[in-house]
C-alpha cells in the first residue's frame, strides 16, 4: 500500500546497475550489444516488478539475476553462439597505477586467459563475487547451489589462479 514502485525501482537500479552491466559485458565482450541487452534486462525488470513477491533486496537480486540469465540465454540462442568469449580480448580499463612493480596489462591478460580455462561454475562464481560483489550467500541463492559449493568453487578458482599466476611469473603474487 505504501510502496512507491518508481522510487523503489530507481533505488534498485542505482544499487544494481553496475554489476548487471559488468556481468553482461563480461559474457558478451562488446559494449554496444551489452547496452542493448542491459536495456532489455531493466525494461523487463520494470515491467515485471508487480510480479515480484517481496521487496527484499536479496529477493530482488535473485529475481533480477534470473532476468539477466534469461536475456543472455535468449541472446545466445538467437545468435547461436556459445556463451564463452575470450576474456583476454576484452578491453582493459584498469587504472595505470593499480599496482606497482609489474606489468598490469600482461597480468590482466594472464588473469583473463586463466579465467577462461576455469569450469563454468567457478567462472560464474568469480564473476558474481568480483563483478557483482555478491556475498557467498547471495551467490548461492542466485545460482541455486549451496553456500558450501560457492565457497569451494571460489576457493578452487582462486587457488587455480594463484597457482598459475605464480607459476607464470613468481613476481605476480608474492608470498607473505
Amino acid at each position: 500500500m505504501f510502496w512507491n514502485k518508481q522510487n523503489w525501482f530507481e533505488r534498485k537500479y542505482e544499487q544494481n546497475f553496475k554489476w548487471v552491466y559488468g556481468y553482461v559485458f563480461i559474457r558478451i565482450g562488446n559494449h554496444a550489444q551489452t547496452e542493448d541487452l542491459v536495456s532489455e534486462i531493466w525494461e523487463n525488470a520494470y515491467k515485471g516488478l508487480d510480479s515480484l513477491k517481496s521487496h527484499n533486496n536479496s529477493v530482488f537480486c535473485v529475481w533480477l539475476f534470473r532476468i539477466v540469465r534469461n536475456v543472455l540465454a535468449k541472446y545466445f540462442s538467437n545468435n547461436k553462439k556459445t556463451e564463452t568469449i575470450d576474456l583476454a580480448k576484452v578491453e582493459l580499463i584498469a587504472d595505470d597505477d593499480f599496482e606497482e612493480g609489474f606489468d598490469n596489462s600482461k597480468l590482466f591478460f594472464d588473469v583473463r586467459g586463466l579465467m577462461n580455462s576455469l569450469p563454468e561454475a567457478q567462472k560464474e562464481t568469480l564473476y558474481l563475487r568480483y563483478i557483482s560483489e555478491f556475498s557467498n550467500k547471495e551467490i548461492a541463492a542466485n545460482l541455486n547451489v549451496s553456500e558450501k559449493t560457492v565457497s569451494s568453487n571460489l576457493a578452487r578458482a582462486l587457488a587455480f589462479l594463484r597457482d598459475h599466476l605464480t607459476k607464470s611469473n613468481p613476481n605476480h603474487l608474492s608470498y607473505e
Binding site: F2, W3, N4, Q6, N7, F9, E10, Y13, E14, F17, Y21, G22, I26, H31, T34, E35, V38, W42, E43, Y46, I93, A94, F98, E99, L107, F108, V111, R112, M115, P119, E120, A121, Q122, L126, Y127, Y130, I131, S135, S146, E147, K148, T149, V150, S151, S152, N153, L154, A155, R156, L158, A159, L161, R162, D163, L165, T166, L173, S174, Y175, E176
Partner: protein, 401 residues
C-alpha cells in the same frame, strides 16, 4: 599467499565501465517519470519508510533464535537428497557424498545409523549412509562413511576415520549385513579395493569396477613437511580389454602432474593415474578432477584433506573419493558435463575436522596447542567467504562439548 592482492587483481581485471551517460539515459527512459511525482507520492514514499521502521522494531521484538544444528544439517541434507532424487529421476546414478556434516548432525542423535538408498530402476542404486562417529566428531576429528558404491549386489562403503581407512561391503537388502570388511593395511597408509563386475554386467549397464588406492608419500610419511608432497593414486580398471574405449585416457595421461601406467594383473588391465599435487592451504580441501570419457567407465574425483598434525599419517589426513557413474546411453554425455558434476561436489572442509578452538587457544585433536603464529596462519588459510560459518560451526561444536 596474498589473498587480498589476488582479489584486488580480479576486481580490476573484471571491472567494466559503461559508456558515459548510458546509465543515466537508461534510467531516464525507465523511471524518468519518478521525478515528476507530486507531493502525495513523496508523502507515500516517506510513510513507507515509517512502515519499514515499525516492521523492523517488531521483527527485533519477536525475534526467535535460529534452529539448532541438527535441524540445520537435516535441512541441508534433505536439500541434497532432493537434488539426488532429481538426478536419479533423469535416469542415471550419482555416487558422491561427503558426510561430515551429516555425521556432525547425527551427533545430536548419538550413534544413530541411517542408510538411505535410491534406485534408478536399472539395477543400480544410490545409498547414503549416515553413520555417526559421535565422539570423534565432537573431539575435533571425524569419521564415518564417506560414500558408497553399489552394483546391486553389494554396497561398497569407502570409509575414513581417525583410525584409518577402509572399504566395507554391505548387502543392499540389509544395510547392516556386512559382506566384506576392511581392505586396509596395518599402517593405514594405503589400501586398494576393487569391485568386480563381469562383462555381462557391463553390457547390462552395471558398473565397470574400480580400484582406488593412495599413499601419502614415498619418502618419509613421518616427516611433517612431506604432507604437501604426498601423492594420491587412483586407478581405473575395466574388464573389457578394449583400448579404443580409453581415448580420453590419453588426455589424462598427458595431463600435467599426472603420471600414468598400465598394470596387467590376473589377465586384466589396470589403468593407473598418479596425481602429484600440493595442498592449497592447510586444512582446506583440494580437489582434482579427472574426467574419463568413454562408454563404460567412471568419472572420478579425488578429494583430499589435511586436518591435523598427528605424527601418524593415517591420523592426519584423509582422502575422499568421489565418483560418478552412469548408465551407458543417452545420459552419459550429461553426466560428463563438469558443470553438472560440480553441483554435486561437496568438498570436505576444514571446519568439520579441525583443531578445536577454545577461549584459551586452539588445540589440535591430539591435544597439542597451536602457537599464536600457527593460529594466525591457520585462520589466514580459511577462505574468506567461509570464515564466518566456520566460526559459527566451532561455537556449535563447543556447545556440544
Amino acid at each position: 599467499m596474498n589473498n587480498k592482492k589476488l582479489e584486488n587483481l580480479l576486481r580490476d581485471s573484471l571491472e567494466v565501465k559503461a559508456r558515459e551517460g548510458f546509465k543515466e539515459d537508461l534510467k531516464a527512459k525507465l523511471v524518468g517519470e519518478t521525478k515528476k511525482s507530486g507531493l502525495f507520492g513523496r508523502l507515500v514514499y516517506s510513510m513507507s519508510f515509517a512502515m519499514i521502521a515499525v516492521v523492523a522494531v517488531g521483527a527485533v521484538y519477536f525475534y526467535k533464535p535460529q534452529e539448532g544444528l541438527f535441524e540445520k544439517v537435516y535441512a541441508e541434507n534433505m536439500a541434497f537428497y532432493d537434488e539426488v532424487e532429481q538426478k536419479l529421476a533423469s535416469g542415471y546414478i550419482l555416487y558422491e557424498k561427503v558426510l561430515h556434516e551429516s555425521a556432525a548432525g547425527n551427533g545430536v542423535e548419538q550413534h544413530s545409523s541411517i542408510l538411505e538408498t535410491w534406485s534408478d530402476g536399472k539395477g543400480n542404486s544410490l545409498s547414503i549412509p549416515r553413520d555417526a562417529v559421535t565422539e570423534e566428531i565432537l573431539g575435533g576429528e571425524y569419521g564415518g562413511p564417506s560414500m558408497v558404491l553399489t552394483n546391486g549386489d553389494k554396497n561398497m562403503f569407502y570409509t575414513t576415520d581417525s583410525k584409518g581407512f577402509g572399504l566395507e561391503a554391505y548387502s543392499p537388502k540389509d544395510p547392516y549385513q556386512c559382506l566384506e570388511k576392511g581392505i586396509s593395511n596395518d599402517s593405514g597408509r594405503s589400501f586398494t579395493a576393487t569391485l568386480d563386475v563381469d562383462e555381462d554386467d557391463i553390457a547390462k549397464g552395471d558398473l565397470g569396477g574400480f580400484g582406488l588406492g593412495y599413499y601419502y608419500d614415498q619418502k618419509d610419511p613421518e616427516v611433517e613437511a612431506d604432507i604437501n608432497d604426498r601423492n594420491l593414486l587412483f586407478s581405473l580398471r575395466s574388464p573389457i580389454a578394449d583400448n579404443n574405449k580409453f581415448q580420453a585416457f590419453e588426455e589424462l595421461k598427458n595431463k600435467k602432474d599426472v603420471t600414468y601406467k598400465e598394470v596387467i594383473e590376473g589377465g586384466k588391465t589396470y589403468y593407473v593415474f598418479t596425481a602429484e599435487r600440493k595442498l592449497m592451504m592447510r586444512g582446506a580441501s583440494a580437489v582434482d578432477n579427472y574426467y574419463i570419457d568413454g562408454e563404460n567407465y567412471r568419472l572420478m574425483k579425488v578429494d583430499s584433506q589435511y586436518f591435523n598434525k598427528d605424527k601418524n599419517p593415517a591420523n592426519r589426513s584423509t582422502i575422499t573419493f568421489l565418483g560418478v557413474d552412469y548408465i551407458p546411453g543417452e545420459q552419459s554425455k550429461e553426466i560428463f558435463d563438469p558443470e553438472k558434476y560440480d553441483l554435486y561436489l561437496q568438498p570436505v572442509t576444514v571446519s568439520k575436522s579441525i583443531p578445536v578452538h577454545t577461549e584459551e587457544g586452539c588445540y589440535y585433536p591430539d591435544g597439542i596447542k597451536m602457537t599464536d603464529a600457527e593460529n594466525e596462519e591457520f585462520w589466514a588459510t580459511v577462505p574468506e567467504g567461509t570464515k564466518q560459518s566456520f566460526k559459527e560451526y566451532i561455537e556449535e561444536i563447543k556447545s556440544f562439548n
